[in-house]
Symmetry: C2
Subunit: 365 residues, 2 copies
C-alpha cells in the first residue's frame, strides 16, 4: 500500500523547520497556516478567493458538520472535498474541543461524551469510535483523535483528561479503517510541564503520521504557551509534522515556528474580519471602523500583497463597515487570512535560507 | 471638445436594438443590465467577481452616498470609480426615487424636496441643482435628472409630477457643469398613455445624450408596462440609448428589449440572492432553501455558465442557507447577476443575427 502521508524535513534553522507533507490532495509545504471553514465554508470567502490568497490546507469542524448537514449527507454528496469544492488538502478536528466547550450541556465519561446540540437541544453521544466514523464519512485528508480539553490550570483534572485522551487515542487508532486519511494524535496536559512531557512521550510512541498539540491558546499566557512548546519539541519525532491547534496570530505563528511547529489553524482571521479588525504583518491589529480612517487613502497594511490591499483604501472599507455592508467582512477576511498564510510562506523561505532568527527578530519572544 | 457619449445603433431586429454607447470609462454594448451598488458596493460581491461575471455598467445611489459617506468625501477620495474601485462605466440615479419613497418623511414643492434621513432623522433639502451637484461630486459617467415619481394610477397627480419633472430637467441641464458626464432626462406619466406621450416628446426635445423611462415596475401590471413602452418607443430618437429604470427580471428584460429598451438596472438579483432565491434563465425563480434540494447534486440552473453553477451543487448552497452562512448570499448574487448580465448579451447576439423573435419566443409577451 502506498503511504500517502510522507513528511520530508527539507530544512532547519535553529529549531524552526521547513518541510513537505504529502496528502492525497497535494503536498503541504510547511510551515503552513490553515484557514478555518467551520461549516464547510471559510466564512464570507469563496474557494476561488481562498486559492487566490494562497491557502493550501483548510480545516472544517466535525461537530458542526455532524449536526448540520450531517456527515452521512456529506458522504452521499461525495465527501467534504466535493461538497465544499476545496480540491486541496482538508483537515477535520474530532469535535472534542467543541463538545467540551458546551459546558453544562456536555457530560464526559471514560466511554465518551453525551452532549446537547447548540442548534436544537437534541442529545447526542460522541465516542472515539464515533468521532472517527464521522470523520471517515467527511473524508478529510488529515483527521484528529478524539481528545479531552480540560481546565489548563487544574493539575489533577489535566492529568485525568490527558490519561483519558491517551486511552481514546488507542481506540481511535483501532477504529480507523480508511488508508487515505492520516490520523494525528493530540498531546494534552494543560500548562503543566510534567503532564505535557508524559503526554508527548505517549503520543510519540503511538507512531501516528502527525502529532498535534491541543489545549493551548485557551487563556494561558504567552510565556506559559512557549514553555509548553519548549518541553514538547525535543520529545516529538523530527520526521513527522507538528500541528499547534487553534493558534493564529502573527506573533504566535512566529514563536510557534521558532519552537518546531509546522501547522497552525485559527478562526481569528475571519472572526476579526467580521468584527472590523485587520491583522498587521508587523503584529497587532487595526480597527478600521475608527474615525481617523474616514479619509485614509492608504491600504489596510501598506506593503501587503493581498487583493484587498492591492485594490481598496482604508476609507472605502471603513465606509463599508459604517454602512453595514457584507463586503467589509469579505475584504477584511481575505486580508487577515493572506497575512497569516503568507507569513507562513515567508518563514519557510527564511528557514530554507538560514535567516529565520534575523528575519523575524522583531516578533520573536 | 470631444463628445464622450456617442451612441451607435449597430443592429435592429424588429424594434429590438443592438448598440454601442461610448463613455469615458469604456464602451457599453447594449442591451445591457447594470447591477446595483447602492452604497458604492454591489452587496456581497467584489468588483473582481463583478468583472468575472461579465458586468460592464454598475449603478450607485445618490441618496445613500450623499448621506453616507457623503458626496464630498467621495470627491476627496478621487470620485466614485476610484473609491469603490470599479474602473468601468458607472451610473448614478438622482436620489429622486429614494426621496419620494420616504413617504411622510418627504415634502415636495416646485423648488425641490425636503426630507428626513432614514439613518438619523436629520433634515435635508434636494433640488434639481443640488442633485446635479452631488452627482458631479460622485463623478459617474451617466447621471440622472431629478424627477418626481408619483402614484402611477392617479392621472391628475401623475400629470403634475410629470410637469414638475420637465421643469426640473431644464434646471438640471442648466446646473450641469462637467463635460465628462452624460445627463439623461427621465420620462414620467404613470400608466397614462397621454401623459407618457407628452413626457416622451418633452424629454426627446431636450436633446439629452440618453433618455430614461422612470416610474415603471412600481406595482402596475406587465400589460400596463408594455403598453407604456409601446407608446414611448416611437417617440424617442433612434440615435440615443433608452434606459428602463429599476427593471430586472428575465421576462422584463426580454420584453423591454422587444420594445426598444437598451439599458436596465435592478436590485432584484442581489436582494433575491440574500433571500435564498435563484433566478432561472428560462424565467421564474427557485427557492434553494426548500427541502427537496438537500441532496440535489445539480447546479442551481443547469446550463448556466456562472462561477456558482460551474462549481457548487444545490445541496451545498442549501446547506449554506440553513447554516446562515454569508457565502450563500455571495454565490446566489453572483448567479442571479450573471443570469441577467448574460441574458442581455445573448439578446445582443440574437439581434445582430436577426433571430431575436425566434430565440426568445418562449419569453416574449
Amino acid at each position: 500500500m502506498t503511504n500517502h502521508f510522507q513528511y520530508t524535513l527539507e530544512g532547519q534553522d535553529g529549531r524552526a523547520r521547513a518541510g513537505r507533507f504529502t496528502t492525497p490532495h497535494g503536498d503541504l509545504l510547511t510551515p503552513v497556516f490553515a484557514p478555518v471553514g467551520t461549516a464547510a465554508t471559510v466564512k464570507a470567502v469563496t474557494p476561488a478567493q481562498l486559492a487566490d490568497l494562497g491557502a493550501s490546507l483548510v480545516l472544517a469542524n466535525t461537530y458542526h458538520l455532524y449536526l448540520r448537514p450531517g456527515d452521512q449527507l456529506v458522504a452521499e454528496m461525495g465527501g467534504l472535498h466535493e461538497f465544499m469544492r476545496w480540491d486541496g488538502p482538508l483537515l477535520t478536528d474530532s469535535g472534542g474541543f467543541q463538545v467540551f466547550s458546551l459546558g453544562e450541556n456536555s457530560k464526559v465519561s471514560d466511554d465518551g461524551v453525551i452532549f446537547k446540540s447548540h442548534i436544537d437541544g437534541s442529545t447526542h453521544h460522541f465516542t472515539p469510535e464515533r468521532a472517527i466514523q464521522i470523520q471517515e464519512n467527511l473524508g478529510a485528508d488529515i483527521i484528529m483523535a478524539f481528545d479531552q480539553c480540560a481546565d489548563p490550570y487544574d493539575h489533577a483534572y489535566s492529568q485525568r483528561a490527558a490519561q483519558r485522551t491517551h486511552a481514546w487515542l488507542r481506540r481511535c487508532v483501532d477504529a480507523k479503517t480508511r488508508s487515505d486519511q492520516a490520523l494525528f494524535g493530540i498531546v494534552q496536559g494543560g500548562i503543566h510541564e510534567d503532564l505535557r512531557q508524559q503526554s508527548a512521550e505517549f503520543v510519540a510512541g503511538m507512531d501516528t503520521p502527525g502529532i498535534a498539540i491541543g489545549g493551548l491558546s485557551v487563556g494561558e499566557t504567552k510565556e506559559e504557551m512557549h514553555a509548553i512548546l519548549d518541553v514538547v519539541d525535543p520529545i516529538l519525532p523530527q520526521d513527522k509534522p507538528r500541528y499547534l491547534m487553534g493558534v493564529g496570530t502573527v506573533e504566535d505563528l512566529v514563536n510557534g515556528v521558532a519552537r518546531g511547529i509546522d501547522v497552525f489553524d485559527c478562526v481569528l482571521p475571519t472572526r476579526m474580519g467580521r468584527n472590523h479588525a485587520a491583522m498587521l504583518r508587523s503584529g497587532g491589529r487595526l480597527n478600521i471602523k475608527n474615525a481617523p480612517f474616514a479619509k485614509d487613502e492608504s491600504p489596510i497594511d501598506p506593503g501587503c500583497g493581498c487583493y484587498t490591499c492591492r485594490t481598496f483604501s482604508r476609507a472605502y472599507i471603513r465606509h463599508l463597515i459604517a454602512a453595514r455592508e457584507m463586503l467589509s467582512a469579505t475584504l477584511l477576511s481575505i486580508h487577515n487570512l493572506f497575512t497569516l498564510v503568507n507569513l507562513a510562506k515567508e518563514m519557510r523561505t527564511s528557514i530554507l535560507a538560514g535567516t529565520f532568527a534575523d528575519d523575524f527578530s522583531d516578533l520573536l519572544a
